[in-house]
Structures are given as structure tokens and as C-alpha cells.
Subunit: 204 residues, 2 copies
Amino acid sequence: MAPTYKLTYFDVRALAEPIRYLLAYGGIEFEDHRVAFEQWPAMKNTTPYGKLPIMEVDGEVIHQSPAMARYLGRMLNLAGDDEWESLLCDMVVDAFTDLRMLTSGFFREKDQSIKEKKREPLFNETIPFYLDRLDKQVEENSGHFVRGKLTWADFYIVCCLETIGTTLKICFLDKYPNLKALTEKINNLPQIKEWIEKRPKTIF
Amino acid sequence: MAPTYKLTYFDVRALAEPIRYLLAYGGIEFEDHRVAFEQWPAMKNTTPYGKLPIMEVDGEVIHQSPAMARYLGRMLNLAGDDEWESLLCDMVVDAFTDLRMLTSGFFREKDQSIKEKKREPLFNETIPFYLDRLDKQVEENSGHFVRGKLTWADFYIVCCLETIGTTLKICFLDKYPNLKALTEKINNLPQIKEWIEKRPKTIF
């Protein structure tokens, strides 16, 4: 029997969306459990490391979005053709994670004076630095992050870039034609298109 | 012919040390290239995403310490016995990375007023929260992070925990007997013991 999948996250796309994309792409049925923000404080300590998303696979709890996305990616043959190409997927996702941690830290920063100090270097240096390199990597890899092949790194980064844009209210894709084209390519895959049409409409 | 490995990092242990441990454990010869901090500004833009460590494998540049450690771990049969156990390694390393990003961000924060605001929640909430859970995970997994097996997650986290302790000047292992025992177990593996004896003595 096929394993059961129950994904638990908030009622937003953000870190769960790459997982939802991969499940949708693979035609894997899953329970898309969404928790209200008010429920979270009472729930936090019951999760493995105090964070969401988590996913139950036949009742076993797994966590951490890059680890889960890689696992699904390998299962769906979306991790390149050998260990070296799997490494190439991991490298770009890890590099992107460095950016993602900074943008999500900024978004969640509650101290306004810290936030204002962080704003200028983040928006004018860090974000352009990473987006330039990511765009160049897609250009040099025939429209994907790894050797012209569709991999879980494409799904992961396309989804998270959208979150960065939405949460920080910046519209950057027009400046990065290769990232823009990759985003359109992923969002136009028939399974993803169908998922986007049916998924709950949320703020980010 | 065996591939050649050239690891480039600063003259410290930190993020390169899990890679050096894995190479030493696997009996893999490598060039341990160390760059002076003064050389870094001129070099930064020549690296894939502006960071070290990088490693040249037969001249191909790879980057990102978790990605590199996973690659070596899989090569050395240190990633569990199947894809699920490989996922379990990835999950705990990713969870640990959330902590590591916060501690390294704190360590490198140059604005003293931000640093002082971050100190109390980091030292009194975040660090104990993660160390409690990591210690419990080792306890529940027979002295390792994953099912009583030696994996690259052990090497990665043991090395990085040492860096957190040294850079933040906190001595926490006595409070976490399972993490302490795992650290001793890793550091007493014959190949690692030999590496520790011969490696350059550095500040962290």
C-alpha cells in the first residue's frame, strides 16, 4: 500500500509550498493540514524542533523543509542522475538557504530599530548579490539550477523566491530574466498549474 | 586514479572542520589550503556564492559545508542504510543549522546595540532549547543522532557544537551528557584522534 502523507503547516504557502509542489508534481495524495497562528504556541513544543512544517509519513513525523524536499526529490527522480548531481542540487539549495534565513529573520524581526538597521544592507547588497548569482546559475545551466535538468532545487527555490518577494513586498523577477523564466516553467507544469488553481488562496 | 581534493577555508576549524573530519575518517588525502583573513575581501567574489569553505574535487569547485559533508557522508557509507535514514541525517543537520545560523549571526554581529538585544533570548532560550532536544535525540538513538549508527550528522554537529562553544565562550557540554559522550566518541575514533594531533592549532 502507498504510504500516507499528512503535511502540517500554517495557512500560508511559504516553507510548505515546495513540499506541496513536489507532492503535486509526483501525483502523491496528501492531507494538507493547516494550523491557525493562534493554535501554534500550544503546539510548538510537540514538534521535533519547535518548527513547522512537519510531515507524517505513515505516522512517522519528519521535519525541515529542505530535508523533506530532498527526500521527495530523490524519490521522484528529481535529484539529478548521480551523487554528483545530487550534490549540485544540495549546494544551490544551501546557498539559497543562507539568503532565505536572512530574509525571513528580517521579516520576523519585531524590534523596529534592529529592522531599520538591517534593511539597507539586506535590500541593497545581500539580496541583489544572491539573485545575480542565482540568475547566472540558471542561465549557465540551460534554464535550470542543475545541468538543464528539472530537479527539486528548481521547485524549492522557485517557491521560496516567491515567498521572499511577497513577504518583503519586492518585485524582483523582472530584473532576473532567467529566474523569471524558470518560475514560469515550473508554475506551468500541468500538475503544478492544477495545484495552483485548486490550492487555498492565502496572503503569502 | 583517485580524485584530488583541495579544501579552502580560513585558518580556523569552524565550518571546514566537519569536512576535514570526514576526509580524515575516510583516509582521503586532501590539500588543506588556509587563507588569511586579509586575503578574503579580494577573493570573495571569485567563490560561487561569496563564501568559504569551498572544495576543488579534481578541479571542480563545490561549496556549502552541509552539502559537501552529505556528499562525503554518502560516499563513505555514513548516511544510514537507506533513503529514510539519509533523510533522518538531513533532518537533524537542518534543525541544527537553524541554531548555527543564529549563533554565527550573533558572533559576527558588529552593531553592539543589536548584539546586546539578541544576547539574552539567544543564550537563555534558543541555545538551551536546541541543546536539550539534540541531547535527547542522541539519548533516544543509542548514542548517535540516527538509530545508533555513526553518520555524517554526528561529525557535522559535533564539530559545529565545538565552534559554537568556542566562539560564544560557553561551556555547555557538561550539562548535556549525551552530546558530551558523542563528542568524545567521535574525537576518539583513531583517524580523528590522529587528525586532531596533527592539525594546525587555531583559535577556534
